[in-house]
């Protein structure tokens, strides 16, 4: 059912991670991504994996949700792994037919695959535990120093929020227009690829026209509610940087230091 769609991939739960300051969650995600890229050997990578698993356990989001988000990127993981397998040379080498595989190539391929998996899982924690609008609010807050360069961060955040808000509305609209065109004899299922792309035009044109009408109405409605931009606006939901945020930051900082130490004492693989 069309009304069942949820925006983003928020997983409803009331865990510590869900209640963290969204600004902090963005910072933590950036830290863990940096950590993943700093790893130089498998031990360091294993430590980051452990940190991520601990974070998932705290978030109470079931593991299978993360496997679900990994499913769609399996081709990318395979592609990267295979490229690395054949193009990295060093150490023992085996060759058969025109292909050559090196010992170092195998290590790198496995390492890269793990790295991508960790990247996806780490960023999924953020999107699973934070409502999209809270994310845009947090981005607005974090980017607010850019105001110095006369960049209207508030407008950008407002645009993101409105885009999120109108996704379900526009999906409904597409369904309505598609049905209306089908009733007039439009054929969306048969024909060559080019025919099918062409048959989308009678859907897209009305969709665009009605979107402009909606934008116009929305602008009126917003100005009727005294919206004049970001200046002088207050927010009902305040973001609070609490003790648990400091705890999470400390945990990540300690892990980061450990990663650097592991890199130093166990040598670099790549």
């Amino acid at each position: 059912m069309i009304s069942d769609i949820t925006i983003g991939q928020y997983y409803k739960e009331n865990s510590v991670v869900h209640r963290l300051d969204p600004r902090n969650k963005i910072i933590l995600t950036v830290i863990i991504i940096a950590m993943i890229f700093c790893c130089k050997n498998f031990l360091a990578l294993a430590l980051v994996a452990a940190v991520i698993i601990v974070s998932i356990l705290f978030s109470k989001v079931p593991m299978k949700m993360f496997f679900k988000s990994l499913k769609s990127i399996i081709p990318i993981i395979l592609f990267t792994a295979i490229l690395n397998l054949f193009y990295v040379s060093g150490g023992k080498e085996w060759s058969f037919w025109i292909l050559k595989i090196s010992e170092k190539g195998i290590y790198t391929a496995v390492f890269m695959a793990f790295r991508i998996i960790l990247l996806i899982v780490a960023s999924s924690i953020l999107t699973y535990t934070t409502v999209p609008t809270m994310l845009t609010d947090a981005i607005e807050k974090l980017l607010s120093p850019l105001k110095v360069f006369k960049i209207s961060v508030h407008s950008l955040a407002m645009m993101m929020t409105l885009a999120l808000r109108f996704i379900p509305t526009l999906i409904e609209e597409i369904e309505r227009i598609t049905n209306a065109q089908k009733a007039r004899g439009a054929d969306f299922e048969n024909g060559s690829l080019i025919d099918r792309v062409k048959s989308l035009i009678p859907v897209l044109v009305p969709l665009f026209v009605s979107s402009f009408k909606r934008a116009y109405d929305l602008a009126f409605a917003m100005s009727c509610r005294c919206y004049t931009g970001g200046d002088g606006r207050t927010r009902m939901k305040q973001m609070k940087f609490g003790i648990k945020d400091i705890g999470a930051l400390a945990f990540y900082a300690v892990s980061f230091t450990a990663v650097i130490l592991l890199n130093k004492y166990f040598g670099a693989l790549i």
Partner: protein, 286 residues
């Protein structure tokens, strides 16, 4: 000037420019009108009679080309005071989807008060209160696209009353709703008027909604044709039909019965009143 005149139209004229033909299309012609504080006015008329334009003139979305509109003594042409006017006169539009800005009900209701720069605690209080008033408090954490049309429109109304306006203008708020949604919205608006004394200007083309107002204004071609309480207005069946409007069935039936020589009250508004009259008549005969 009397203090009770909340909105005043003085000889207002308004015309749209037809870009294709390059001509001016007159929408409002020399309209004068006053709305008292606490009144419940229903504006009726068929499509293109200028009723929506009248609504938009009330809170400075449009400004008159000649004449003036005063809201609580402020001229709507005064651009510096535009937000003062919009704080006093809230507006609800026809399509509920196009006026909801947030992905969560309570965030949407908070949007107006947030724009006014009110403190977070006060916004929270107002949002909860507004949602309770429109009986949508249980849905405060829902996503708007999962609500019915009537519920969405009530959220939109809550978003306006959280700004604590003195007047709400509703521009055909029920045109896109099913009968149940229409009843919900009408009930909410009537409650706001009676319980909280909010002035209501309700634009519609449904007769059964107009019947519930305290005052009905019928418009045609940018002019006021009829103005009075519903009972008075609906006795002018011929005028209403001339401007392309229906008359409540009960009122029309009463008129027809009168024509046939049956003495029955002419100003009945609904089936129940008509029934009472008929029963009264029968009892008199016996």
């Amino acid at each position: 000037m009397k203090m009770s005149n909340f909105i005043e139209f003085e000889n207002v004229c308004f015309a749209y420019r037809d870009e294709e033909e390059g001509t001016e299309v007159k929408v409002i012609e020399n309209l004068s009108l006053t709305v008292d504080k606490g009144d419940f006015v229903c504006v009726l008329g068929h499509n293109g009679c200028g009723k929506s334009t009248t609504a938009k003139l009330c809170n400075a979305i449009l400004v008159p080309q000649s004449g003036r509109v005063l809201v609580d003594g402020i001229d709507t042409r005064d651009e510096d005071k535009i937000n003062d006017i919009r704080k006093k006169v809230g507006m609800v539009f026809q399509n509920p989807d196009n006026q909801i800005v947030a992905t969560i009900v309570e965030d949407d209701v908070a949007f107006g008060p947030e724009n006014l720069g009110i403190s977070p605690e006060e916004i929270r209080r107002r949002v909860d209160e507004a949602l309770k008033q429109v009986e949508m408090y249980d849905f405060r954490l829902s996503e708007p696209h999962k609500l019915s049309g009537g519920q969405k429109q009530r959220v939109a109304i809550a978003g306006i009353i959280a700004m604590q306006p003195e007047c709400i203008v509703l521009d055909e708020p029920t045109a896109m709703l099913d009968p149940r949604g229409r009843r919900e919205v009408m009930k909410t608006v009537k409650m706001l008027n009676e319980k909280f004394g909010i002035t209501v200007i309700f634009i519609t083309h449904y007769m059964d909604e107009a019947v519930k107002a305290k005052r009905v204004i019928v418009m045609d071609e940018g002019k006021i044709v009829l103005d009075g309480n519903p009972r008075e207005v609906f006795t002018h069946i011929d005028t209403l039909k001339r401007v392309g409007l229906d008359v409540p069935e009960a009122t029309e039936l009463a008129m027809l019965l009168n024509k046939d020589g049956i003495k029955i009250e002419k100003d009945v508004l609904d089936i129940d009143e008509l029934l009472d009259c008929v029963i009264g008549l029968l009892e008199d005969k016996n």
